[in-house]
């Protein structure tokens, strides 16, 4: 068994448990184990663009320092928002010695961060470390005939310097879907924003965005959309479902970890969703059960 230190983040630890359960199962099938950090705090969620707001980097710096303190080099995330925030913060802090020194001085009696931790998204781990071939070999229940529209959102690929793939023409999800036997149907809306946190202050914006993303996916003939972030997933599911007249052409969405788990014969941990993905899965011969 290979093992990698894992940072859940608040969204996964609270609302998006299924994303993690599925990831654990899938990785287990691939011979990998996720070892959760003993203590962790919020990554900061939204990466601060203010270059003099060092306080915003204290949280991420502590996480990185603990990774280092525990003798690890890599830190795995599932949520693309956490991935982005942590990775950007890591770069920002190590870019200029002075920033790191000040944050370390503030951290005071806690361990220092000296740089060098690599924040890894699970999609990267699968692509670069495990390899699609190995995934293909491990597939037990090919997702044949399932048409899936990859939804990248913003933080998985942007900014370019930290993204896991090309921000305009990413293909990491497409490649993974192919390895699982599914049929990717790329959509022009796949790299547009889902409305993100406007979901709290202006839900109608998120509803509109989710509707547009879903319609684009449907036009491409997709059965499903696939996401890599609890917030995107919330908007694509709940907000899409709330939009007036949504039910007629609603497109369900799942986490990529869930499709991975499904194909590898692990528990896909499908919860109750606003837009139930089970009918389309069942229609493709991939019936799943929802745990009570």
């Amino acid at each position: 068994m290979n093992s990698i230190l894992y940072y859940p983040g608040c969204g996964v630890a609270d609302q998006a448990r299924s994303m993690e359960t599925a990831a654990r199962g899938a990785l287990g099938a691939l011979g990998w184990e996720m070892e959760e950090m003993e203590r962790w705090n919020c990554c900061g969620t939204v990466y601060s663009l203010a270059t003099d707001d060092l306080m915003r980097h204290v949280g991420p710096a502590r996480i990185l320092a603990r990774v280092q303190d525990a003798g690890h080099e890599h830190l795995l995330t599932l949520c693309s928002m956490c991935y982005s925030t942590l990775k950007r913060s890591e770069r920002f802090l190590t870019e200029e010695r002075d920033r790191l020194d000040r944050v370390n001085a503030f951290l005071d009696d806690e361990p220092d961060y000296t740089g060098g931790v690599r924040v890894v998204h699970l999609l990267e781990l699968v692509r670069d470390e495990i390899g699609y071939e190995a995934v293909e070999e491990a597939v037990q229940r090919p997702l044949s005939g399932l048409k899936v529209s990859p939804y990248y959102g913003c933080t998985l690929t942007r900014p370019r310097a930290v993204g896991v793939d090309d921000p305009e023409r990413p293909r990491v999800l497409e490649d993974l879907l192919l390895a699982l036997g599914a049929e990717p149907v790329s959509s022009p809306q796949g790299v547009e924003c889902c409305g993100a946190y406007l979901t709290a202050s202006a839900p109608e914006v998120a509803r509109r965005r989710a509707g547009a993303i879903a319609r684009a996916a449907a036009r491409g003939g997709a059965d499903l959309m696939v996401t890599s972030c609890p917030l995107c997933q919330y908007n694509l599911d709940t907000r899409q479902g709330e939009a007036p007249g949504a039910s007629a052409h609603a497109v369900p969405s799942l986490y990529f970890t869930q499709l991975l788990a499904l194909a590898l014969g692990a528990d896909p941990a499908v919860d109750e969703q606003v837009i139930d993905p089970r009918p389309v899965l069942a229609a493709r011969g991939l019936a799943v059960e929802v745990k009570a």
Partner: protein
């Protein structure tokens, strides 16, 4: 206290006093002549009335502790925080549903936590305060309840927090939700309450109430003790 104790110098709100070494900050202030009204309660580390901040000579750090528990040291600069302005959000336990998680709705400022850990450093109980606020942020009520359990609500965390969170109110909310709704109910307790309400023990108690002292002493002598 031994007679030949060494005297130390402390600064109470900036003013120097000579007091014997080895006293708590609270007793040192009293020795110096303060009759405490504010900043004192249980004198045993339980009530949180005696929140105190201090610096040591030659040290930039601002320390926080309970005056009734911390020992006064030579060249200590002491100020008490007799009251912490903080509002308890308005909520009623019975109006919450068992599965509710109202923390962020009632205390939205929790979301302002930048994980600076200043609260943790200020806590005289050495609780993982930031960790429980972080747990609150992700809705982990059992974790908040457990990590905040030993809180004496002195308010030092709230006074030091740059995000202006009132940690101890958050902990109180989580603990009550946990205790009332998340912890499993005691079945034997509910059963016993039914029995007492029904009067199941009334006859036996009537009898005991009527007994003479001698009879009671006899019964007491013969009682069996659970091992």
């Amino acid at each position: 206290m031994s007679a030949e104790q060494d005297m130390i110098r402390i600064y109470i709100m900036g003013k120097a006093y000579e007091v014997p070494g080895g006293l708590t900050i609270m007793k040192a202030m009293e020795y110096a002549g303060y009759r405490l009204v504010r900043g004192v309660g249980c004198r045993g580390g339980f009530c949180g009335a005696c929140a105190t901040v201090f610096r040591r000579a030659g040290d930039y750090k601002l320390y926080a502790d309970l005056a009734c528990q911390a020992t006064a040291e030579d060249e200590m600069y002491i100020a008490q925080i007799p009251s912490v302005p903080a509002e308890r959000a308005s909520w009623v336990l019975t109006e919450l549903a068992p599965e509710d998680n109202p923390i962020l709705a009632l205390y939205p400022e929790v979301a302002r936590c930048v994980a600076c850990n200043t609260c943790t450093r200020a806590c005289p109980q050495e609780l993982e305060v930031m960790d429980y606020i972080q747990a609150a942020l992700r809705g982990d009520i059992p974790q908040v309840a457990e990590l905040s359990f030993d809180c004496v609500q002195c308010g030092l965390c709230a006074m030091r927090c740059p995000a202006e969170i009132v940690h101890y109110h958050v902990g109180q909310l989580a603990r009550r939700i946990y205790g009332a709704y998340r912890a499993p109910e005691a079945g034997h307790l509910a059963a016993r309450v039914q029995e007492t309400a029904r009067g199941d023990f009334d006859q036996e108690l009537d009898k005991l109430e009527q007994m003479s002292k001698d009879e009671l002493v006899e019964l007491y002598r013969k009682r069996d003790v659970e091992s």
